[in-house]
Symmetry: C2
Amino acid sequence: MFDFGLFDLQTGVKFHLPHSQGSTDFMQTRDIDYRCDDVHSRGYLAWDETGERRPGVLVFHEGLGLGDFAMERARRLASLGYVALAADMFGDRRQARNLQEVATLVGGLRAAPEKLRARGRAALETLAALPQVDGSRLAAIGFCFGGSVVLELARAGADLKAAVSFHGVLPTKMPAVSGSVKASVLVCTGADDPLAPPDQVAAFENEMRAAAVRDWQVISYGNALHGFTNPAADGTMLRTALYNAQADRRSWASMQRLFDEVLT
Amino acid sequence: MFDFGLFDLQTGVKFHLPHSQGSTDFMQTRDIDYRCDDVHSRGYLAWDETGERRPGVLVFHEGLGLGDFAMERARRLASLGYVALAADMFGDRRQARNLQEVATLVGGLRAAPEKLRARGRAALETLAALPQVDGSRLAAIGFCFGGSVVLELARAGADLKAAVSFHGVLPTKMPAVSGSVKASVLVCTGADDPLAPPDQVAAFENEMRAAAVRDWQVISYGNALHGFTNPAADGTMLRTALYNAQADRRSWASMQRLFDEVLT
């Protein structure tokens, strides 16, 4: 399982095209290593083998780390025709076992937004450099903590056509400045998410206005809490994180429509 | 043009199936008269002649009155397979020629929400009673003033599967009460619409929460002003009403998706 090549951001693409670790019809999946400074990340790639370059989509995981949920989303994106890279923001594919570990892993990065952005960019550059990816058509999506990564990348002016946050954390230490955001921004948020309360949504909208962001939307789903896209969110780990099939379907469809607009 | 039958809400359906006033492929359109107390309304009906009962959708016009814009939306709905009735809220198909007339016509109804609701209900009952309509699958959409009509109908507990407001006015004198709203509510609003400023959007969301509305969503479109769905909104009549093709397409698509969910 660990016999894949290493992608080195300093020296360029070095990895060899590895064997597939799984497939559904034409779908290919494999782990992919990349580096950001001294952090070794092990992402997860999913794509349909078609021979032509496809738009690339990053998937940023929740506070629990890169696991089944983000991987399944990557495969779903691949089935839609995208090359999807589920990033590993914590390095060594670390996964939190409890809320305290989440707080440590997430807190360390959110307190240092430049580091967080650098990790996001490392994943983006990895994706953009893949032979099956059209580097001029890139997007990023993220869930919970991953939503904030997506938004940080957009604020930093990353070359993304779209940035989609699902129940993401909205405040930032480094607000967007006028003209910095290139991506079409879509924020899908639960109207009852205590991690994205109405005043933070309002502040985010004001940030978008103040930075004259060319294209942004916020969708607020009534009765939806935190983590509404994740079927595993059953309120046990975090009382206020609860799956909501309707908001999950709707937000995914809104993402697809935005991708149809800007990635094709 | 005036030789159609009269639909009388007091005595039941009296109108005869009239000749078509226009058609595109299988599309039929005609005027349709209905009454609410002493007000005679002349609505506009559009449908595809298929022989089977279809879901019915009301279209509530802007403050200018029932005109080309709402009629075109009715035809668009018909082309999607719905029977669409563009209501005439002012009676005698009155149309405002300037903002002062808008203020008079709209103000009179908004000051008397029971009267406004009754007019909306008269249109709903007219639509529901049509032989080509499946009365168990009804929805309503509205633009600007019409958005507030849709929301008033929803608050009043009208038997609607969906209520969609496009750049509608959100405050009400008769807020929804717990359990009153049956419809799935979708509010599509311009983030820069001075007629639906952030505090009113927040108040609306709080109204939905307080009334435990089963299903509601608010979509806020960045950079969109009032009237964003209407190509004729060019800022001349109302400086802050401006067409926005992107927000128009997106909001219409969101409406379609909601209809796919609840009307089929």
